[in-house]
Symmetry: C2
Amino acid sequence: MSKNETPRDPNEVLDEYEETLDSVLAEVESPDEATEDDDISLGLPGLSLGRRDFMKAGVAAGAMGSVAGCSALTGGGDGGAANQTTESGSSVSHTVEPGEHDEYYGFWSGGHSGELRVIGIPSMRELTRIPVFNTDCATGYGFTDDTKELLEEGGGYSWGDNHHPNLSETDGDYDGEYLYVNDKANGRIARVNLTYFETDAITDVPNMQAIHGCCVLSPDTKYVLGNGEFRAPLPNDGTDVKNPDNYTSLFVAVDPESMETQWQVKVDGNLDIVDTGKEGRWAISSAYNSEEATDIQGMTRDDRDNVKAFDIPAIEQAVENGNYEEVNGIPVVDGTQSSSLNQGDRPIVKYIPTPKSPHCVEVGPNGDYAFVAGKLSPTVTMIDLDALADSSDPEEVVAGRPRVGLGPLHTTFDGNGHAYTSLFIDSQAVKWDIEAAVEADEGSEDPIIEKQDVHYNPGHIQALEAMTTDPDGQWLVSLNKLSKDRFLPVGPIMPDNDQLIHIGQGEASMELVADHPAYPEPHDCVFAHKDKIDAKKVYDKSDYEETYITEEDSGVERTGDNSVHVKMTTKRSEYGLPDFTVQAGDEVRLSTTNIEGVQDIIHGVAIPEHDINYAVAPQDTREVTFTADDPGVYWIYCTYFCSALHLEMRSRMIVGPAEG
Amino acid sequence: MSKNETPRDPNEVLDEYEETLDSVLAEVESPDEATEDDDISLGLPGLSLGRRDFMKAGVAAGAMGSVAGCSALTGGGDGGAANQTTESGSSVSHTVEPGEHDEYYGFWSGGHSGELRVIGIPSMRELTRIPVFNTDCATGYGFTDDTKELLEEGGGYSWGDNHHPNLSETDGDYDGEYLYVNDKANGRIARVNLTYFETDAITDVPNMQAIHGCCVLSPDTKYVLGNGEFRAPLPNDGTDVKNPDNYTSLFVAVDPESMETQWQVKVDGNLDIVDTGKEGRWAISSAYNSEEATDIQGMTRDDRDNVKAFDIPAIEQAVENGNYEEVNGIPVVDGTQSSSLNQGDRPIVKYIPTPKSPHCVEVGPNGDYAFVAGKLSPTVTMIDLDALADSSDPEEVVAGRPRVGLGPLHTTFDGNGHAYTSLFIDSQAVKWDIEAAVEADEGSEDPIIEKQDVHYNPGHIQALEAMTTDPDGQWLVSLNKLSKDRFLPVGPIMPDNDQLIHIGQGEASMELVADHPAYPEPHDCVFAHKDKIDAKKVYDKSDYEETYITEEDSGVERTGDNSVHVKMTTKRSEYGLPDFTVQAGDEVRLSTTNIEGVQDIIHGVAIPEHDINYAVAPQDTREVTFTADDPGVYWIYCTYFCSALHLEMRSRMIVGPAEG
């Protein structure tokens, strides 16, 4: 197809293409699942190929030819370097024997489950969950007074869509202090304390509809940065609702200690993913919808979208100079293309046209390049961060643009010169040579080293410590959005599939080692060597100096006509109070301290028919306030099996009739 | 110690014992973790043994000698048959290669997480979670109108403590239709539909404080049976709250189809776990607190507690004869020891004194015996179910009582004549010969075949299909309450540890194969061969005949001055409406149908700043009703990554100012 032909609607092409793939796949792998509505032939009579053959035979080329204006897409895996892994009997083991520890912590964002998951690498075992934007009755997150308040002050929502977990850095390496993660749904950023593995702050960022991209500013976590994805009126208060020309997207900087919003930058188009250079100057955001449309056809019309390069010191200077508008208390700097702040020698935001609706940006280990995956272009665009200081002209800042395959979304690194890009449409991980891509012509497939099938439709892809200046190689995880037939059927809502791939130090061929089903939706992950995390096993009593309760403190104090304060300890087999009495209608403040000093001896405080349960770990103190509405006897019991007399560990709450 | 010596308070002894173990363990395994408060010597100067040596050396014998009146407890593992497994390098693999399926479904109750977990065996991978008593923002359980209503009608709580999952049976085998599970906290029973793997009913059982034991009546699921654990006034309405003599525990039968409560039986003492014989007559409940005390010292005073054998046909006859009191609409039959219904030839409940605060009862595969674990006695009491028809005299119905070790809690079976009992205090699984136990003297250790260390403090223990008439052997899972040092540290709230043990067909030695961390609290599990479950991958459109929405239906209908009904389809990349407008204050009923026919193409409906997210699986229809309070633009987006244009899949909800 020549450049002058009218391109087909890419949305239409993609729909057709993916539906065809799905039905071919369904027919081949589960013949009885293909529905009558599926057009499995795509107008190609007699087609009876499997999904891989289908890709390799280049059948897709015609259908996809118009996407991103590329004339000769042949799908992935047709090069001689393609690695056709035998699925069974991998030669590398990821087994961690009983009693042995994993070598790496993996922190998985849980997507719209609202939680984080801590997964051991290489075993892929889930070590724990950390509730963040969700509520969690196992630990009492969202049930105790402190966590209720945290969620209330963080916007009052009971869910979130956490996408991008980021570890705090000192001198460019993980310092093990905090993890920051965004809520795409409600425009929030949360912080998780890695000493106690619990959420300790949630910031509901003003003015922003949906924070999608999220990262820390390397090398010293000066800011937590976030991309507001959805364009909306600013402020979004009901004015101008039907005038999309006046909608805007924002980029935000949040202080990592106070968790307060510092400033925002408004830009043209939608913002997507963000990463920073290693020297504290550049934050690079991928983007789509430079068309500023409100429907899918409009959003995908043009062949280029503007990647944004935020010049952090220049933005700080603009804020210092008072060059901003204050909206809902936040300084908002104008970073649109027409802004005066973008006309001088040092624009605050550089716009770099990049094909096409590019989805992700990751900055490589040595900070040379930002890798921007094309999504609707089969290429990865490499932006030279040094050149960026002088120019935003694509001719000068684009260092390479290899053709990697269909639907490139994310890129990761082994630290030995290789990049690995996930291909959503091809369902592959493609390994390629970074310097060869710089040398090669734009759109060349020469830098490709090998391709590994994944199952199916990968989003993020992460290798060990790939986001640091010194990646560790060895293992790569492909976070695949679909699992289809890979696991025992569990009803219509199927798990995602996190696949573990061995990559060695980059010299080895990729080898698929394990499939791991994942509850929706493990969006992204980040890995830290076990030595970089220093988790405490027992709480520090001094954190609770004022509220810490001793056995002597256990008792009931009437604090008002209709309020009581109940204090009691927990230890193996016994609450500090075998019973206590309140009157119906009382507001009961129940304070509990676990006075045990031994690790892993946790106690629960469950109150039947009062919708209360929470955990109290050793030396921890937690409180809950509730109203005792109905007269009766309610046995408070321990939900953590703590001793042979665990069942007998109870306190009897007697609610007498209301007085008077 | 002779029988006539005054026994020490067992609670005191157990406390001292366990704390000592913990601190010894802490010192040996993590020297810096032992706190100053720990008395690591137990008055034994120079003690510097590991936990296993400590047990084997018999040091505990003195300290534990009074427990359950046993004179010569030596702890486990000192017999010649003890199997000292080398932890690393197990010879049996549980690996399931990429793309291969597990052979068994494991259904794990999630304890106070409120959810069920589906785990593949032997891989131990979590295939999915099924929210039951909790809310779940990943799928929208508790967010959509139908699931909100389900939880509201089920008591209105946002958590539960699910303990015992049970598969529905036909002719004594799993029929793959339903799973039933109890909520210990709020006295409820839920049903999970195994066609779609979702909760479809929750019954808030009247009159009951806490349903602990739960099972179905074999062989044809005539009832779901539950044990009300906590003694409370009946009705628990504020009368008699301070008169524990009038407190009572109830046993309940729920209809498995209508899920309505059929009848209850009140008994003496607390009820614990329940299982049924294979012929539909007997339900056997373990029990504690025959003392009917309200504190731990009182509850553990006596050396015997009464196991209850419920004669189901006899109870049905009593109900039919009108021999009941109606409380809150439920027929309550008097099954206390003094009841007239227990004085005749066919008592409705037989009381069998058993040592000591026995925790669990499991009926063996051929239905001959109920195995009652002693908890505070080191024995398992075998009750002969045939003999039970004629007598409840322990001399006549107790077929055997092997001494298995300290803290026996649960027993499982391999179908080849062996029982496996979990030892909470010894942290072991003990394998013993069932017929040898019948032959041996009471309290004999001769039937013991081997002991396997587990890590640490096991509760339930389950072998494959052990609760059917034809157990499959091969694998056994020990659900250990503590993990301590077994995994990378994740803060003070540590995971439980589910350990996979290979048992072969019973001829092999037990071999510990894998440790799997589990989020609190996997209480119990049940396994079904994959061929017994028939999960659908796409919903049946006819289930939603009235509400199913086609693309032509998509639109907005004003249904009142302040209410609108929005209908829209979902398919890859597009909602049926690119935008819609409502006015501030409108109650919005949003109905969505996923019109895709292909498996695993799920769409999400997330509404920022409105606390709404839910999944719509292929051919499913879900609705949510909310109030659009604040004017503004809100982009509804898809939370399931469904296509290369997933990010562009959005609908724009415009909330205009309130009219008038």
